[in-house]
Symmetry: C2
Subunit: 338 residues, 2 copies
């Protein structure tokens, strides 16, 4: 079986803002399979701010190099397999990257469960959903009656964090960019408030003081930067901050951190806890069970923002970093198999 | 009984570096006692970097105002009492401030235990000792074989933190200013290494990478600023940072925080925990018991840096903020009572 592929590789590692020129489209034909390998065709590619962070050098994963396929999670269908654990036609998830077809070690893949729509495995039950679930319930912890602040509230993780906070009885304040997003976060997602960090007539520190006059108990930080700084000033004593990402800071040179570090951390006795979703992999089954249940009960709204075709991947990620997405962004390469 | 007092009040709240002109010496005679009040003469005044932080506005204590007596912990002898809990001649501890004699509510005082020398109640068994003990054992946690980094290693808290780390089997790296302090930290206190952050021929990030090639498990931060930044880059994954103070940042205008906040917190999944000593007051008895025991066994070296006379208090604190002290600084107003 001769399988043609298209894929995006890193043509140049970005030093400033990510641009389409940093990627190069390659075409070719997959080689034959060795023992333990699986040939797949990609159906859905996940787009996550973390993809950009991986280009900054070694993180919790090795450094991405020029010439590497651009990494990202993806759902794919098995076409052929030399790994007895996988059979043609099965659906799998793995860090396959931006490519239409690929040969993967079977050990790097896992099967996708029966929950449908398939897109939910990249959103609600994927990294976004688990990041929201583990980050809010494990890294930060949340209690009924507390005030929860969430940045990137219209994003894939933030939109879920706020809804999970409401489910647990917290008062939820979102931060998002622009009046349309803010209205959507309030009206569709059910946050108590949503503050527009781009509204120059109402700077965030002031808006936050008005929205949370008693202060913030838990801040779920997806952004870092000036929003983290405003949050530090708004935190209550003994407040908790889950550090989930720093989307404001991935795309450019290293910048100083927020004022109030470490002064406000000491004075207010704050806890900041960085985490990534795999730190809580031992609780993934709980996350998937509860998130699927709440979605089925209509208690969680999972917005998906789906672009079409592999060629959309670069501009999709660039747009995500600029905050153009609403909900979980992904790229569809092929319709769901029957 | 007519009791004359001298005291320093805040003449002007500092906006930049603290100077002697920010204080004004007042003299007067104490009024008579109301019910519940105690008249004391001060023997020893504690000098702590936190005193400066209190002048920046409301913190975990109310804002200090112009005209207030400069606050600080102190040990005093009871001269007269209208509180049945206290009798003349007893020794007490309280936030009495920079004054020779004072009238205090009995409820704001507690008796000083039998351990001697008396100075230990402001050092080893005082805020410094308990801050080191609770911060290392509770806020951060330390395990044998881990690498512990401590800033302000020649200071009252840092000098104890490193010794406690050695007692628990950690490898201990200090950071201090100047070769003399560093030699003392290594040779007298027994730290494994001490890095001179003022040594321009060997910038701290480089020196730290060489001293801790496997990275730092626990950083006990007394300084904030560039040392915190260097530590963030040197931390291992899942590392813990106890945020105890920010002496580098008290004395001046608010400045940006360290680079790497929150990016490195996320990528390395660090935990930063701010604390003040009273958060762990329920464990104070344990701290006092163990610290006194270790001192008696000769396992802890408690350096004390004692200035003489109330008039030394302003320059004592100013010098402390500039890192001029070695060990626990205090001001003696009168010899220990027989």
């Amino acid at each position: 079986m001769s399988i043609a592929y298209q894929r995006f590789v890193i043509d140049e590692l970005p030093k400033g803002p990510l641009e389409e020129r940093h990627f190069r489209l390659e075409e070719g034909v997959l080689p034959s399979l060795d023992a333990g390998q699986v040939a797949v065709r990609v159906l859905l590619i996940s787009q996550d701010a973390a993809n950009r962070a991986w280009l900054q050098g070694a993180t919790y994963r090795g450094a991405v190099q020029t010439g590497d396929v651009m990494p990202s999670g993806a759902i794919a269908e098995v076409l052929a397999s030399e790994d007895p654990a996988f059979a043609p036609g099965e659906l799998v998830y793995g860090d396959i990257g931006w490519q239409s077809h690929a040969i993967m070690p079977g050990a790097a893949l896992r099967k996708v469960g029966p929950h449908r729509p398939l897109t939910h495995h990249l959103s609600l039950l994927g990294v976004a959903g688990k990041t929201a679930y583990h980050g809010l319930f494990q890294a930060a912890g949340i209690h009924a009656g507390e005030t929860l602040l969430v940045s990137a509230a219209a994003g894939s993780v933030g939109s879920l964090v706020g809804q999970l906070g409401k489910l647990k009885g917290a008062r939820v304040i979102g931060v998002a960019g622009g009046p349309e997003k803010c209205a959507w976060v309030r009206d569709t997602l059910g946050f108590d408030e949503c503050l527009d960090y781009r509204d120059e007539s109402r700077p965030l520190p002031k808006a936050l003081a008005a929205a949370a006059p008693q202060g913030v108990d838990v801040y779920f930080d997806n952004t870092g930067g000036p929003i983290l700084q405003a949050a530090l000033f708004a935190m209550r004593e003994q407040g908790r901050i889950a550090c989930c990402g720093a989307v404001s800071m991935y795309d450019g040179a290293p910048r100083p951190g927020p004022m109030g570090v470490p002064g406000l951390i000491v004075v207010k006795r704050l806890t900041l806890k960085g985490f990534i979703v795999s730190d809580y992999a031992h609780l993934d089954a709980d996350a998937e069970h509860e998130l699927a249940l709440w979605a089925k009960q209509g208690q969680l709204h999972m917005e998906e923002d789906i672009l079409e075709g592999l060629e959309a991947a670069p501009r999709g990620l660039i747009g995500l970093l600029a905050g153009q997405n609403r909900g979980k962004r992904m790229v569809r390469l092929a319709p769901d198999p029957a």
